[in-house]
């Protein structure tokens, strides 16, 4: 059933395959993001309560959901790597980790910037922001562990185990933080919650979301290809590739 996947476990095939995908992803990301952002920031209606400050939502929410999604992707890659000993899965997890961390940071910064006009303070221990902060710690732990090993293969396996442990913990942490938050909730009620979205707001949001997702795909593809090259630097096909490029110049 999985036979058709087999050739993609070969680093060389994957390298060229992702190379062919890249231009499509890049084009899609460019189109979706430029349309989505212009629409969202200039033409979409302002929120009747929050005014224009609401527009940061078009960046904050995609970043936040992508930051969780990328961690989920890493966990799947880690599982594949540990169960089927797929070296490429390690490479893809390594490619995703920093991207996920950056998106988590973006979600935190935009969340905090959104909080300033709404709550009058840069930081509030809102359940979602707190979970996002802890997610950032988990990402940083994975990245730090990965870079602490000199051998890339070992680094990948160690980071994979940590990712899996983290992914089991993440829902528990998220749940406990939400529970903790309702327990200690004072007068401020989170307004980051579901804004009733009209269609005029939904369309630009979808464009932005897909645009950011494509952007993630582009960056991850680039990083994945670099990881493949770094891990296979002694392989003849990589050497041929490098010398071919050198001759080209």
């Amino acid at each position: 059933m999985w036979k058709w996947l087999h050739p993609y476990a070969n680093p060389e095939v994957s390298y060229h395959f992702t190379g062919r995908l890249l231009p499509w992803f890049s084009a899609l990301a460019a189109i979706l993001l430029s349309v989505g952002l212009v629409w969202a920031l200039l033409f979409a209606p302002a929120d009747y309560q929050q005014g224009d400050s609401f527009r940061i939502f078009y960046i904050h929410v995609p970043a936040a959901s992508l930051s969780m999604g990328i961690y989920f992707g890493m966990a799947i890659a880690a599982l594949c790597s540990l169960v089927w000993q797929l070296k490429l899965a390690d490479a893809s997890a390594a490619a995703m980790a920093p991207v996920g961390a950056v998106f988590t940071a973006i979600a935190l910064l935009t969340g905090s910037a959104w909080g300033k006009p709404m709550w009058g303070t840069w930081w509030i221990w809102d359940a979602r922001l707190t979970s996002e902060l802890i997610l950032l710690f988990l990402y940083l732990g994975v990245i730090a562990l990965h870079s602490a090993f000199e051998d890339k293969n070992l680094a990948g396996k160690a980071a994979g185990i940590l990712t899996l442990v983290g992914s089991i913990n993440l829902p528990i942490i998220k749940y406990s933080v939400e529970w903790w938050n309702t327990l200690h909730q004072g007068s401020t009620v989170s307004k980051l919650g579901k804004p009733s979205m009209s269609l005029e707001m939904l369309w630009p949001f979808l464009f932005c979301f897909l645009g950011f997702a494509m952007l993630v795909a582009v960056i991850v593809c680039y990083r994945f290809r670099n990881e493949i090259l770094a891990r296979n630097s002694i392989r003849p096909w990589v050497r041929d590739l490098v010398s071919a490029q050198a001759n080209h110049k």
């Binding site: 000199e150 051998d151 293969n153 002694i234």
Partner: protein, 222 residues
């Protein structure tokens, strides 16, 4: 790479351990590539090569402590990863580190090592005597020298029933007399149908050179 001598005509021989197409990469350096090894009962195999040529890596891969970049290790035709328990019952590995705790006495250390591998602990004192440690049984290992630590670790050889011995530099910090008696033990073990895979920078004196098979690793320096 030096080929292994073809196995002699003895019909008793069976393959104990087999490495197939082993490739090892450390720090972006290829240590060995597509290496095939067969180790039979009665073999004494010496892995040779300059420092950094991958001797320790090879032994650790054979013992299952490290994963090869590519290739398989089989114990009696079955992948070692699929018969971990049986393989470990048949394996004695002694590495650079002797596995001796400073907070425990020589005898306690040996007893623990034996018990951990499911061996009898009644004769620990005799085993220690074999390693010239008589009189030190009750000394805390932290009061003993590095050579004595290694002797405590090696004392297990006198009781081990495991046929496969993988020994990384067993003679380090051991005096001449100790080396000679260890070599005797290796011959005895091989004659009983075991095998010894070892690295050493010393020449094997007591073991006749025609009995020693050699594997030379020098790929990284070619």
């Amino acid at each position: 790479m030096t080929p292994l001598p073809k196995s002699t005509s003895s019909t008793q021989e069976t393959i104990l351990l087999k490495g197939e197409n082993l490739t090892c990469i450390r720090e972006d350096r290829l240590l060995f590539d597509d290496l095939n090894i067969e180790i039979n009962t009665g073999d004494i195999v010496q892995v040779e090569g300059p420092n950094g040529s991958g001797k320790t890596s090879l032994l650790r891969i054979l013992a299952g402590l490290s994963q090869p970049y590519e290739g398989k290790v089989k114990f009696k035709q079955i992948l070692t990863s699929q018969c971990r328990e049986e393989f470990h019952e048949n394996l004695l590995y002694f590495g650079h580190l002797p596995g001796v705790k400073g907070e425990m006495s020589a005898e306690e250390n040996l007893s623990f090592n034996l018990a951990l591998h499911g061996l009898d602990t009644n004769q620990t004192v005799d085993n220690l005597a074999n390693m010239n440690l008589l009189g030190f049984e009750d000394s805390l290992a932290s009061h003993l020298s590095a050579g004595q630590h290694r002797r405590i670790g090696l004392a297990r050889l006198y009781q081990s029933r495991a046929p496969i011995w993988i020994l990384d530099e067993p003679f380090t910090a051991i005096d001449k007399q100790g080396v000679a008696s260890l070599e005797q033990r290796f011959i005895e073990h091989a004659n009983q149908g075991g095998c010894v895979i070892l690295t050493t920078h010393q020449d094997l004196l007591a073991i006749p050179s025609d009995k020693v098979k050699k594997i030379t690793l020098d790929y990284a320096f070619e």
